[in-house]
Symmetry: C2
Subunit: 348 residues, 2 copies
DNA sequence: TTGAAAGCGCTACCAA
DNA sequence: TTGGTAGCGCTTTCAA
């Protein structure tokens, strides 16, 4: 149905090998022959069958990416950057969402193994490292994104989560908050790192978390976290003493938290300052523009894409590499108590 | 490196064919043999090489999706739904962003052709239909998403854009707006359809657009449209007579427009009502919650996924099919002038 | 119920 | 500079 090398070879009275060499810009081909072949290829809009090529070369020029939720701007951004970063090197990218379901994710990864992608990239929802041992057994290079696992020496690209927690918390303290609370995320490395950073920042200011000032986001079914943030903030509002600042695990939970605070008749940031994490695109347009820690999703995507290309080109295994992106605080109204040092991502 | 059918066959003293049949659940295989083979496959975590299979069967169980911008929640949602909808049928999905660049999109489509995906899905940024003629020449089934082209009889799944424009405009009129303006999008079917619906709705109320009340979004470099919306709204604010309602091509442009209106010291919706299109997730959390026309991205994704699976299963070409999703208005504060008929996508 | 042979479209290797 | 041969891992067909 589609045109094959053989068709062009027959038409031009050449061998398949010769045409194949022209295709791959092999040097030892006569100028005249090359021209004839190229012209015919263009006329027929010939597209080489990459599956056939893969079978011979053992490389598919294909990468696989699994994220928890493609709708989440953080992961969408990473996916987009990885795609465009690797496309220029000739790769195509399989993308899928796991919906935070470890089994679904595992199934997707098996698919990618069967497809013999050159590298697997995954922002993982696994609870154990079994899945990665499986990948390693198949000698498939892989890169963890955003979330890592204890005891697993793997390639990793993500933000420095302790720095995230530290920056956010210190910022609130510097804005005059004396009782900074934390709405923490689930039992994954990102949430744990931010929690750690939060505690360390408090400690370095001679403080520690007050009782009831660390609340967990509700877990399942609401991974975007608005509802969880709302509920968590309600708990914080009834804590004694009441916090005067909240560092939220992510932006959606911060949105929920802000709503709860406003519903309770308090003012933001005067009575309660809020900072989230993710720096999502519409922060500036919110009822109260949301301060947030930027996780550098673009940089993460860029690093991950480059690393993937590098891994795909390597014959032998090398020591896994971890790249930590440095976060930065973007101050907006929700935490801005002092008039100075504004840095809103403003329009105009 | 990876395990092959042959390895398992040799180990078990069977032929490759037998093992292959077990793999594909072929009926005429002895119960005992089947059990032995399956057990060994599981032990070795055998993953069949799908590239090799494709070469024989001519099907890759692979789909390709190209969208203008994966970061845009509308397209991210569609991508996610298509992925999960088709995954259960055994398909993997290549996803890429064209950044609204026709050449980049064309290049991506050529890649997909070379990969022999079973179906191409594209929310296209093309200006002409050449690209689709090329796809047709290769006998590749394809589905247009969201945007269609005049004179091209192709499979299409998208929202009914005239209905979008009609619903939005009628809603503003019913809320008491007498001079409804429109911030229109670029020269693609979606923008043209919405513009048409806007005019028709005005006409059916015995009105027509006043001079200067249709303004174009600035084009390039800002396809998310906030800045364009801001500029466009500024023009509308200085129109005489001034509009008292704006139907914006999409939500980002509506955000920009609202900012311009507030900057000018006007109140929303009292002085100027605003409605967008897209119903993006965070509408409820905005300074002024944004009314919007929901485009039914989930339904679009579902239809497109199902259609793709159907096309992949068909041997012969059939008449292209167009599926139009019916939009619905989601009323929030930005257009709510009468106290009744609220239908916010509210929390709690 | 099992398996031998042929071949999918391409590339690697070596000979002419 | 050109091309014949072999083979990538799998499925299809048909014979045993």
């Amino acid at each position: 149905m589609a045109i094959r090398l053989k068709d062009i070879a027959n038409e031009l009275g050449l061998s398949v090998v010769t045409v194949s060499k022209v295709l791959r810009e092999h040097p030892d081909i006569g100028a005249e022959t090359r021209k004839r072949v190229l012209r015919r290829m263009r006329e027929l809009n010939y597209q080489p069958n990459l599956a056939a090529r893969s079978l011979v070369t053992g490389r598919t020029w294909t990468l696989g990416l699994v994220v928890p939720d493609l709708l989440h701007p953080f992961f969408a951004d990473i996916a987009k950057v990885i795609s465009s970063e690797t496309r220029s090197h000739g790769y195509s990218l399989f993308i899928s969402s796991s919906d935070e379901d470890p089994d679904l994710e595992m199934q997707e990864i098996k698919h990618l193994l069967a497809r013999r992608v050159d590298v697997i990239l995954v922002a993982s929802a696994q609870r154990s490292v079994d899945c990665f041992r499986m990948i390693e057994e198949q000698n498939m290079p892989y890169i963890l994104i955003d979330r890592r696992f204890q005891g697993l020496d793997a390639n990793f690209v993500g933000v420095d989560d302790e720095a995230v927690g530290g920056l956010a918390t210190s910022h609130l303290i510097e804005q005059g908050c004396h009782r900074v609370a934390h709405i923490r995320g689930p039992e994954v490395s990102t949430a744990l790192g931010r929690l750690m950073g939060y505690k360390q920042a408090l400690a370095s200011h001679g403080l520690k978390p007050l009782p009831g000032h660390i609340v967990s986001l509700g877990a399942s079914g609401d991974h975007r976290g608005e509802k969880g943030g709302y509920e968590a903030a309600k708990k914080l509002l009834s804590a004694k003493p009441r916090p005067d600042g909240i560092f939220c695990f992510n932006d959606p939970s911060a949105l929920g938290a802000m709503r709860a605070i406003l519903d309770a008749g308090l003012r933001i940031p005067r009575d309660m300052a809020v900072i989230g994490c993710g720096n999502f695109s519409y922060s500036d347009f919110l009822r109260i523009p949301l301060s947030s820690v930027d996780q550098g999703s673009e940089l993460i995507g860029k690093f991950a894409g480059d690393l993937a290309v590098a891994l795909a080109n390597r014959k032998s295994k090398v020591k896994p590499k971890a790249e930590l992106v440095t976060p930065r605080v973007v101050v907006r109204a929700s935490s801005q108590r002092t008039p100075i040092s504004a840095e809103p991502d403003s329009l105009s």
